[in-house]
Structures are given as structure tokens and as C-alpha cells.
Amino acid sequence: MIPPPFEYVAPKSISEAVKILDRDTNAKILAGGQSLIPLMRFRLASPTLLIDINRIDGLEYIREEVGWLKIGALTRETHLDRSDLIESRYPLLADTTRMVADPLVRNLATLGGNLAHADPANDHPATMLAYGARVVATSPSGTRVIPIQEFFVGPFESSLEHNELITEIQIPAYQVGSSGAYAKMERKVGDFATAAVAVQIQLDRSGQCTYAGVGLTNVGLMPIKAAAAEQSLVGQVLNDAVIHKAAQLAGEVAEPQSDQRGTEEYKRALVRTLTVRALRTALKRLDRGG
């Protein structure tokens, strides 16, 4: 299938890109294109102008800087997958990127695009909620930092203004005692999650949990931050009873709908099981010293 006609520009700088974006409310940013191009081919999206940001230098990077892991918005999933820094210090992100679509899609798909699309079935939103990440958005009037819990405002809807471009994603930097995991159930490679759970924890020297983030994928109209589950973990030593209590609370906050991937009850049970698995994997990783 062929998309409806549109105009195309490939600016060389961020400032040029957002200036064009600002002028045209029917414009869309083309990053990896792995969600947008299929949507346009199915005519579910028909922007009249595509602003291709792939020719802008300096939007693909991964670096730790003053308390944050900073990732350029155009960084490809494959790049995240092959990063030693992410592999060694950010296991939740490493897990997540490997579960996005398939290897060919990951060669083009970008972290910024995954978030901007605001699809509740995408994998990174739940992970960024669990991390307590921030999105840096640039418009002609400057940049603004958006806490991730204020970023998703509806199905396929983010709090980005029409003239804003995501330029960077910031994740709280690794600290000793932090760990995480992403547990996803999918029917086959490349499918969206039947359900998935992202977990990020921080333990102090005594093993007590000082931070917990729990995000849920594809069990509601928006990515879900399981706040009650998070609160139940903080201040506790994460034994079986505590883990199961958190899993119970995560299942309760899920709002799945029955569809071809499973019934509502099944998906809720899956959220509980995946929460337990993700927490146990995160703890096991801490035992291994990473």
C-alpha cells in the first residue's frame, strides 16, 4: 500500500526542523519511520508534510553526565542494544530495547520516536515510567524538560506541543544497588506485548528498597505507572510476600481489554506474574553484582 501524497523536507539542523514544524500544523516528524510509515500506508495518518530529521547530526548519542544517562532522540534501538554502558548499568533498558519489534525494525527505530508515538503497546513508555525518566523537547522558543509521568496524556497522545521535537531522553544515572528488568509476553517475535512489566529498583546496603518504579505495557489506553505497587515496595526488604503484594497491586491498576491476545482476566493475571518475574530478575542481577 502506498501513502497518500505529502511534501518532504530533510533539514540539517534542529532549529531549522522546529521552525518548519512551527509553520505547519499538519506536519509530522519522520525519525525511524517504523510506526509512522505503516500508519501512513494504512492511511491512519495523513500528514501533508514530513520533516525527516535523519539528516540532522548530533541526535544519536548515549552518555552519562551529571546524574543522568542522556540519550539522543534519534538513537536507534540497535545502538542501545550494542551499548556496553547500557548492558552493564541499565539492564531494564537493555531488556526493553531487545524486545522492541524485530532486529530489522530495530536498525531504524528510535527511542525518541517510540515515546513520541505514545502508543500504549510500545515498550519504552512503561520502562521510562519505571525509571522516572525525563523528555527534553525543543521548539523555536527553546527547550523544556517534561517529566515522563506528565508526557503521556491519552491514547497515542503526548503532552508535546505541535511545534516541539523530542531531542533527548534522560534517565537517572546508575547508582550502586540499582537494578531492573523488563518482562514481556508476546505471541511471536515482532508482536506487540500481550502484557509487559518494567521494574526498576534501588536497594540500600541493608537490602531495603529506597526506590521502586513499575510501568505496565499494553494493558490500558495509556502506558500505566503502577504507583500503589511502587509504594508497597519502598521501605521494604523485597521478600516473596512483598513481591507478591506488589504484583497484586500492579494487576489491580491494569485496565486490559479482551482481544485476540487474551481475555481481560488473563492479562491481569499476566501482569501479576510478569511483575513477580521482573522483580526477581532485578534482584538476581543485584546478587550477581550488577
Binding site: 519522520l30 519511520g33 505503516p38 524485530d102
Partner: protein, 170 residues
């Protein structure tokens, strides 16, 4: 109708054309260049039959615009054989019966070559993970994995030739 003049190197040859922005790379290759070895399978970014290398990276050409490849280097299945000699991956698919209907084969081979360029001696798990974006409905993948292993061995042997006199390190 707005068109863009694009130039790219396809299988080593420079090509130039005027295209609409909405033209997909796979349509450009098949319809403008008559390179019909790149197949259109699912048309939904799932099957990988349309896989080509764009600037050295395998991508699904049904999900890339031709204008995005402007200035780039594209390699398709037609570029695998050189001077009348099959590429090791083509030999591998023939020798190990890596295909039945052959529809997925061009995309599968492009992904396999890209994998072997990155990782010359992959494990079976790495091969299966690497081709997980390419669907085959005939073979059950067993012989495809063997074909890629065959090609890997052959490519390693070929690459080893220039250093035949050098000391071998494990």
C-alpha cells in the same frame, strides 16, 4: 505533483531518478530499477521479504521512503553474485536446501550476509535471533540456519586467505 531528484548507489551502480516523496524504497527498486529480486511480502513491516542493505544495515524496504535513501548505498539480492560467482550465502542456500518456495530467500540472504559481516562466527542462537525479523513459511528454519552456517564457514575461510602465513590465534 511534487517530485524530488534522488541519487543513490545500488549494487555498485549510481542511479538517479525523480520520485514522489511517498514512493517506498521497495517500489523504487522494483518498479523504477526493475530489480524484482526484492520481494513484497506482507506489506506490513512484519515478514522481511523486502529486506535490503541501506548504508550497510539491513532494513525493511517497504518501510523506508526512496527519498530517505538519497545519497546512500543500497545492496539487494541482485548484487550478491560477483563476476558470475555465487556469493557464499547463495551457495549455502543451494547446498543446504535453505529454500523451498524461495519467496523469503532474497530478504533472508541479505539479513544473513549483514549478520555475518557483523559477527563472522555466530552461534545457532545468534543466527536464529538475527533472522527473527524474516519469516519463512516453508522450511521451519532448520536448513536456513545450516545455510548461514555454511556461508559463515566459507566467508571465514575466504577472509583468512590473505593472512594464511600469519600465526593463528584462537
Amino acid at each position: 505533483m511534487n517530485t524530488h531528484k534522488i541519487t543513490m548507489t545500488v549494487n555498485g551502480q549510481t542511479v538517479e531518478a525523480d520520485v514522489e516523496p511517498r514512493m517506498l524504497l521497495v517500489h523504487f527498486l522494483r518498479e523504477k530499477l526493475n530489480l524484482t529480486g526484492t520481494h513484497i511480502g506482507c506489506d506490513t513491516t512484519s515478514c522481511g521479504a523486502c529486506t535490503v542493505q541501506l548504508n550497510g544495515t539491513p532494513v525493511k524496504s517497504c518501510t523506508v521512503l526512496a527519498v530517505q535513501a538519497d545519497g546512500g548505498v543500497v545492496n539487494t539480492v541482485e548484487g550478491l553474485a560477483q563476476n558470475g560467482q555465487y556469493h557464499p550465502i547463495q551457495e549455502g542456500f543451494r547446498e543446504m536446501h535453505g529454500l523451498q518456495c524461495g519467496f523469503c530467500t532474497p530478504g533472508m540472504m541479505i539479513t544473513a550476509v549483514s549478520l555475518l559481516e557483523q559477527n563472522p562466527d555466530p552461534t545457532e542462537d545468534e543466527i536464529r535471533w538475527g533472522i527473527s525479523g524474516n519469516l519463512c513459511r516453508c522450511t521451519g528454519y532448520v536448513n536456513i540456519v545450516k545455510a548461514i552456517q555454511y556461508a559463515g564457514e566459507k566467508m571465514r575461510a575466504q577472509n583468512a586467505v590473505p593472512q594464511a602465513n600469519a600465526e593463528v590465534h584462537p
